[in-house]
Each structure stands twice: as structure tokens, then as C-alpha cells.
């Protein structure tokens, strides 16, 4: 008996501290996430088919819509069906377009990916030097300046920031177009500049702050002192000694960034009139396309869970010690 207990205990410890547990956790979270999404449709007061079709619909039409929405069978059966098809990568069919939700979203993906990509580049270019400077000079006037300006930038609502940027760059200076998107490669960067800049004004301060706090912690370490005494060259010192050991918290925040980019994307794509994924959500909502909204929510939720898992794995790979904590 004692041996068995010891084995169970050891297995438990292995489980707790290994990457396997991260993967299992992510799977469990995804399961709950899909369950929540399944129940989302049940929040609709009354009969969604009746709501959609109006009062003049015939019984036959209502029955057909109930079948399309998947609410014509007992709830338990629906649930099992939903989960099993979600497991196979099928997150539902748009009731209006009679097309797979995943396919509709995939067709809108390029614009959003270009926006996300240019945002990431801009955020890194802004946040890395800012965060480093703010950490090194955090006791001087620059630290105070950094703290105040970042909290102003973070707190300003994105839909106001983007309108101010449009006013400055498009109306006053006429540098960028006021709205619209050009799908061709080099030209699209001009249309993406303003939205990506808006995103970066809100995201770069968050990253810079995480980096600042982390670098300040790193600076207390002994190897920093040793490096200064040994006279390590400035560039090498910055990269190898200050930045690299401080990256873990930034990577850990990847999931948060993914969620925020999607959230902001919805607002930004509407304001700058970019035909991306976020705009498709608003189109679904305006058309009361319940199943498409459901699929959209599931997809973005899973994206965040996957990004968080990826960040965990990346951190464990970069720093094996993180695994043991």
C-alpha cells in the first residue's frame, strides 16, 4: 500500500511540475470555454427562431430555423453534438450565409493578420528601448515622466485615441488615408500605419512597463554587478545581461496581448474601415447571426488559450528553472 501511495505522490509531483500539466490544463480550460460558448445561445430570451423570423413566419420556417440553430433536440444531445463537432474543428454554421463560421473568418483573416503583424513590429520597436531606459533611469525624472505618460496612454480609450490620430495624421497632415484598405502588399502598409500606431500607443506602454519592472528586478542580481566590474561592453551588457534574463514576464503576457489585440481589433477595424475579422463580428451581430457570433467567440477564446500555452512552453524552454517553480 505504502509503495502505491508513494508512486501516486511522485506521479502527482511530476504532473504538477511538468509541461504535461500545462497541456492538460489548457485542454480543460478549452473544454470549459466551449461549454460556456454552448450555453451562450441559451441566453437568448424566448425562441431565437421566432425572434429571427418575426411574427409572420410559418410553423415550417420556424421548425427549419430551429434545426439550423441546433435547438430542435433535447439539450444534452445538442451539447454532446456541439462538443464533438467542436473537437473536430467545426465551430458551427452561419445561419444566414449557410457557410462554416471558420471558413468565413478565415477569408477575412489576411487583413487582421497584416494589422496584427505591423502592430507587433511597432510595439517592439517602441517598447524595448522605452522599457530599458525607464528601468535604468527609474529613479530620475524620466521614471516619473514614464509612469505618468504610460498611464495616460493606457487609460485613454482606444476609440478616442484612434479618432485623435485620424484627426492629426489624416485630416490635418494628410499623411494617411482617412479610412479604407488597399489589399496590395506595399500599398497596404500606408493604410495600416494609423491603425497599427493606435494599437501600439495602447499596447507598447503595457509591454514597456512589464519590461521595466522585470529589468529593475534583474538589476539587483549579482551577475549584473559582476558584469559591471568586469567591464562588459555596453551592447553586450544590455542584451545578454539586462534584457535576456528579463524577457520571461513579457512572454508570459503574450496571452493577454492576444486577447487585447482581438478586442481592440473589433473597434479599430470599424473606425478605420478595415475589412478584417473584427468587422465580420460586427456584421454577424447586426444581422443577428447567432451561430456565427457563437463560433467567433469560441475561436477567439481558443486562440487566447493556445497563445497562453505557447507562452508557457516558450518560457519553460528559454528558462528550465521556470519549470520547477
Amino acid at each position: 500500500m505504502e509503495v502505491i501511495q508513494r508512486i501516486i505522490k511522485q506521479a502527482g509531483r511530476f504532473f504538477q511540475h511538468s509541461l504535461v500539466s500545462r497541456v492538460v490544463q489548457a485542454a480543460l480550460v478549452s473544454f470549459f470555454l466551449l461549454t460556456i460558448v454552448f450555453f451562450l445561445l441559451r441566453l437568448i430570451p424566448g425562441d431565437p427562431a421566432m425572434v429571427l423570423l418575426g411574427e409572420n413566419a410559418s410553423m415550417g420556417q420556424v421548425e427549419e430555423y430551429r434545426k439550423l440553430l441546433g435547438i430542435d433536440r433535447p439539450p444534452m444531445e445538442q451539447y454532446v453534438d456541439y462538443m464533438s463537432s467542436a473537437f473536430r474543428g467545426d465551430l458551427g454554421v452561419s445561419i444566414l450565409r449557410r457557410q462554416s463560421v471558420v471558413k468565413i473568418i478565415a477569408s477575412r483573416l489576411p487583413v487582421s493578420l497584416w494589422l496584427a503583424g505591423s502592430t507587433v513590429v511597432m510595439v517592439f520597436v517602441l517598447a524595448l528601448p522605452l522599457g530599458l531606459l525607464a528601468a535604468v533611469y527609474h529613479r530620475t525624472w524620466f521614471g516619473t515622466f514614464f509612469r505618468v505618460t504610460t498611464s495616460v496612454a493606457i487609460s485613454t480609450p482606444i476609440y478616442f485615441t484612434s479618432l485623435v490620430i485620424l484627426l492629426l495624421l489624416a485630416v490635418k497632415l494628410d499623411l494617411v488615408p482617412i479610412a479604407g484598405y488597399d489589399p496590395e502588399f506595399p500599398k497596404n502598409l500606408r493604410t495600416l500605419f494609423a491603425p497599427a500606431l493606435t494599437n501600439s500607443i495602447l499596447l507598447a506602454p503595457v509591454l514597456a512597463r512589464i519590461l521595466q519592472a522585470s529589468v529593475i528586478d534583474t538589476m539587483e542580481e549579482e551577475f549584473i554587478e559582476a558584469a559591471i566590474v568586469r567591464g562588459v561592453k555596453p551592447f553586450r551588457f544590455m542584451w545578454h545581461y539586462l534584457l535576456r534574463p528579463s524577457l520571461a514576464p513579457c512572454i508570459a503576457a503574450l496571452g493577454y496581448f492576444a486577447a487585447t489585440v482581438v478586442s481592440y481589433g473589433v473597434l479599430i477595424e470599424i473606425i478605420f474601415n478595415l475589412p478584417g475579422v473584427g468587422m465580420s463580428l460586427i456584421e454577424f451581430i447586426r444581422a443577428f447571426d447567432y451561430t456565427a457570433v457563437q463560433g467567433f467567440v469560441a475561436l477567439t477564446g481558443l486562440l487566447v488559450v493556445a497563445t497562453t500555452l505557447l507562452a508557457d512552453l516558450l518560457n519553460a524552454w528559454l528558462d528550465p528553472r521556470a519549470n520547477l517553480q
Binding site: S30, F160, A259
Partner: protein, 275 residues
Amino acid sequence: MSFAVTLKTLNREALCGLVIIVLVILLGIIVPIASPNNASGFVADPLAPPSMSLPFGADHMGRDLFVRTFAAARLDIVLAVLGASIPIVVGTFIGVLTGAAERKIAGALWDALINAITAFPEIVLVLAIITMIGGGWNGLLYAIWLSRWAQYARLARAKTLKLHESEFVQAAKVLGYSRIRIMTRHIMPNVYSEAIAYALSDFVFIIVVIGGLSFLGMGVRPPTPEWGGMLAEGRIYLQTTPRLVLFPGAILSLTAIGVALFAQGLARHRKEAVR
């Protein structure tokens, strides 16, 4: 760790934030009452420029932009307080309860549920809930309540689990105090101060979300003055009369910045007090 901070000991940041908040709230109360103009009354030519009687000018329908901006302040702040108050109570309660239960498997399931809710991109989830239950300010509040409690539950759960290992809780257990007594007397007070600190920064977020959803036409409906809705209406006139966007947007941002500064100052104050 107490929240009884006197004005004198507050740092500049927190004081600055507090002044902004009080100013916006006062103006939000006084302006709509004291002004002769009604928030939805047509008092001037459309897009009339600012003057003595109309400090911010008139909007695209000839309504007093000044009165509308501060009537919106009242509504938005009340909605944000309502939006934050239920999640903080319910979420913290659930977090403490599940944290103190000391059940491993149930705890893991709660963790998964909380992580699942917090995984959704916030605006997407709130939008989806509103699509299902219907818009308007009440739909907006339900959606915020349904999605926001998980943040507080996560925070309270983590703190409770940590407190359970601390010496004073262990001592209380050894003394044979009941579970309920330990929870209410020993754990709750410590969790609550942290939850309130988080609620302050959450408040900024909720104001921004309320405005954002109304901006998308899914929250408070026009003609009720609301910051996000006003920005959406004024957006069309960005090229000709940008003040329709700039005035309400500036007051909205100022409010959010004020609360953020206050929260940040208070957090620093607490950190220094602990030291």
C-alpha cells in the same frame, strides 16, 4: 494594509487623480441641473460654434454639447460603479469560498472555469452576451456582470490559497476556530483590501468598455447622452467640426486617467506603507 489613508499622506499622483475624479463628478451633478438647457433639447443651430451660453458649442442636431458631455459623465460613472460593484462582491465571495474549501479536484475545476471566462477577449465576450440578451444599458450591465466576476474570483482564490499557508491562519486552525470564522475574520479582510485595489483599475476598464460598446451601437442608445455614443455620432463630422469628438472624448479620457492615477498612487502608497 488598511484603506484609511488621510489626504495629507497621499502622494501627488493619487491626489491629482482624486482631484480629477471629484471635479468630473461635481460637474456631472451640477451642470445638468444648473444649466438652463436640457441635455436632449434643441437650443441652437446645428454645429453652432462655442459661445458664452454654449461653452462647447452645439452638436450636429443643435443640442448643448457642454450639458450633454456632463450629463453623460453622470450616466457613465453610475453605470461603471454598478458594473464594478456586483462582480467585486460575487467574484470575491466565490474566490474565497473555493479557495478555503481545500478540495483539490473541485479547485482545479474552478480554476479551469475562471481561466476559461478570462480567456475570452473581453469586448468580444461582452458583445456576444449583448447580442444574445439584447442591448441597452441593462443588457450592457448584465454582460459586464456575467464576464467580469471571474477576474475577482481568480484574484481572491489565489490570495486565499496563499493566506491559508500563512502563519496566522495556521495558528487560527490550531486554536480550533471554525472554518467560517477563519474565512470571515482572518481571510476576508485581507482579500477585500486587494479586491478593492483591483476594482479601482477595473473601474477604468469598465468605463472604457461601456463607452466602447455604446460606440459600436450595442450599449446605451441615443438620444441618451453617453460618451461612447457621442463619439460615434460626432465621428462623421471629424473633418469639419472635430470638437464634437474632442470635447466628450477628452472628458472621458480625463475621467479614466484620473481613476488610473488615483489607483496607481494608492498602490504605491500601500507598497511604501508595507515597507
